[in-house]
């Protein structure tokens, strides 16, 4: 296994990236002085600390080695994320029900087994549950289906 593809080395890189990103996007924030700190003082301090820590973690990982990263299985994370995004697109445009159907279909497709009958059953149960909990129980202002209810 390549020692640069280890958990710790990549974590180190991630921390450095966050540190540099914060420095870049916070470059216009004035640091001020220690007595009267500007909005940028603490962010800059934290960014430098992040970069230093990330660097140390990465160096230790290369020198000592660490656990290799398991090859991720992309299907679940992609499907779940996609499901949430589609839900957020549909929710205000069409109402809760279509968004819910889309989310459950997409998310269920991300799992190991996909049985259409089970998924339909799940949709029916969850629709009833959501209406009971959110619309009736907590009386939230949610449309179930735009223009209908």
């Amino acid at each position: 296994m390549n020692r640069f593809l280890s958990k710790d080395f990549l974590s180190g890189l991630m921390f450095i990236a966050f540190g540099l990103g914060a420095l870049y996007f916070g470059r216009n924030l004035a640091p001020g002085t220690t007595v009267r700190m500007g909005p940028g003082y603490v962010p800059h301090m934290l960014s430098y600390i992040m970069c230093i820590l990330g660097f140390i973690i990465a160096v230790i990982a290369v020198v000592r080695g660490s656990d290799p990263v398991e090859t991720p299985r992309l299907k679940p994370i992609v499907m779940v994320t996609l499901g949430i995004l589609v839900f957020s697109l549909l929710f205000e445009r069409t109402g809760m029900f279509p968004a819910l159907v889309a989310l459950i279909l997409i998310a269920s497709a991300g799992g190991e087994e996909f049985k259409l009958l089970e998924v339909i059953g799940n949709i029916i149960v969850l629709t009833i549950l959501c209406i009971l909990v959110f619309k009736i129980g907590l009386s939230m202002n949610i449309t179930v289906l735009n223009g209908v209810w």
Binding site: D8, G38, P72, F91, G111, L126, I142
Partner: protein
């Protein structure tokens, strides 16, 4: 007299019909998720955070607290009956609990663990009542520099006691602090890291981050793994024999004491308490060979310890506003959503909420005994629900909950974004809990730091000249140095290795 007066106030609040109802809902939901493997209290509380937004503060916190200790209860049921720990805090219960069940003593194991937990919960609640006032009075003497040092100590201690790489955990704390900065700077009004998104000017909302990092990431990791279920063991008589009772009682007492102590420590909590008390019982037992083969003590002690710790871990959060673990960080988040700044002021300014919540914990513990023992059959049936039904349900609740925070789909997108980030964290072996602690404490810590430096005219020596602050910083430094000692590092690694296997 004051204590009785406070307890009485708490009772009037906790015994109101509404609060009893929410305590009951919390306990039911907590037991449910404790029984279901694959979803823990952190993910559940994160998922339900937006819902609490629509409830009155006291009811919301009572319900969340109920979920927390309910999960510690429910987790033991599955450990004993099917050898599957519902929660990390009941992993050790599997060892002897399942062996007892295989010997036909499942009922006895369940009642010992339920009654031991109830006793421990009662003691834990009493400890909160006794220590809340003196600690709060002490905290009120703290200046900005003292607070800053206290938070540093809390964060470092949480990191040292957590499992995994210390350096990575520290980096995660700083990353959390960095994310906590997003929004409008309180002192100057400048926009920081808001990328011209109006929703971000009040700061990143806590709930979507928690839901993404814990809820979504947990679902995805579970979907990647295949979950297997084994058949449950039938429960016969619930009554332990006289011999079993005789052996359980001292173990319950020891477990309660150790758990109560470890719960207060930053980074402590139910899981650490359960493991430590199991180790302790094994060390002092006259017949250590019986452990792993159905020793009563091996069920009684860790089960009492995890419940005692679940109660006492509220102490630093309620009195100082410092969360000691991820669940407490979420409780702080829930308070902030309700507009309550956690800290010593909660007790003086909102005594009804404070004491009502404490009394309700005891009521909740009583409810749990009633929910758990007679209804055991129902909980066991729930175990047969496959994960592929649960995952979409959890996702859906997260999405609608996130939307309902401010009726904006931006929050739903944030859940998706932090879900991806949480997945990356878990793949890289970076823990979410230190991140959450940093995120919750970040804004306050910056505020105290800037105030302390302003008061001292830019002289950083203020942190070492004030005795309280100096003491806290010395403790922090001592913890860090201890961590670097090779012998201690080895012991710590061994302690957590036992947890993983």
């Amino acid at each position: 007299m004051d204590m009785l007066h406070n307890l009485f106030l708490g009772m009037t609040v906790a015994f109101s019909l509404q609060n009893l109802l929410y305590a009951f809902i919390g306990c039911m939901v907590g037991t449910l998720i404790g029984v279901l493997p694959g979803i823990g209290p952190v993910a559940t509380i994160a998922m339900l955070l937006p819902i609490t937004f629509h409830l009155p503060p006291t009811a919301a916190l009572i319900m969340l607290a109920g979920i927390y200790y309910g999960a510690a209860y429910g987790g033991s049921t599955t450990s004993i009956l099917v050898n599957l720990p519902g929660e990390s805090s009941s992993v050790v219960t599997c060892i002897d609990g399942y062996q007892m069940a295989r010997k036909g003593r499942a009922g006895a194991a369940l009642s010992i663990s339920a009654l031991g937990s109830f006793f421990a919960g009662t003691v834990g609640t009493l400890i909160i009542v006794m220590f809340a006032e003196p600690l709060t009075r002490m905290a009120q003497k703290f200046g900005p520099s003292d607070y800053c040092s206290l938070m540093a100590l809390g964060l470092v201690a949480a990191v040292v006691l957590a499992s995994g790489s210390v350096l990575k955990a520290i980096a995660m704390v700083f990353l959390g602090l960095l994310f906590g900065l997003v929004g409008t700077d309180v002192n100057t009004g400048a926009q920081r890291f808001t990328f011209d998104i109006p929703e971000l000017s009040d700061g990143i909302d806590f709930a979507p981050i928690a839901m993404g990092l814990f809820g979504i990431a947990e679902i995805v990791v579970n979907l990647e793994r295949k979950m297997s279920r084994s058949g449950a063991i039938k429960v016969d008589s619930l009554w332990p024999t006289r011999e079993e009772t005789r052996r359980a009682i001292p173990a319950v007492l020891r477990g309660t004491a150790l758990g109560a102590l470890l719960g207060v420590l930053p980074g402590g909590g139910p899981t650490l308490a359960a493991f430590s008390s199991y180790t302790l019982e094994k060390k002092i037992s006259k017949t250590p060979s019986q452990f792993g083969k159905g020793a009563v003590e091996g069920v009684a002690a860790p089960e009492s310890a995890n419940n005692a710790a679940a109660q006492t871990s509220f102490i630093p959060m309620l009195t100082l506003g410092i969360p000691s673990n991820a669940v407490m960080a979420l409780m702080v988040g829930a308070m902030i959503i309700q507009g309550i700044q956690p800290g010593p002021e909660v007790m003086t300014k909102k005594p009804d909420l404070f004491w009502g919540m404490i009394v309700s914990m005891w009521i909740g513990n009583l409810m749990l005994v009633i929910i758990n023992l007679p209804l055991i059959g129902m909980w066991v049936k729930l175990l047969t629900v496959p994960y592929r039904f649960l995952a979409p349900a959890i996702l859906l609740f997260c999405c609608i909950g996130a939307y309902s925070l401010q009726n904006s789909t931006f929050h739903v997108e944030q859940v998706a974004m932090f879900g991806v980030l949480g997945y990356i964290f878990s793949r890289l072996g970076c823990e979410g809990a230190p991140f959450l602690l940093g995120l919750v404490l970040g804004p306050q810590m910056e505020e105290y730091f800037r105030r302390a430096m302003l008061l001292s005219r830019g002289d950083p020596s203020v942190f070492v000249t004030r005795p309280i602050s100096l003491g806290l910083l010395i403790t922090t430094a001592a913890l860090l140095i201890l961590m670097a000692l090779p012998s201690l590092r080895k012991a710590r690694e061994e302690a957590f290795q036992e947890e993983e296997t």
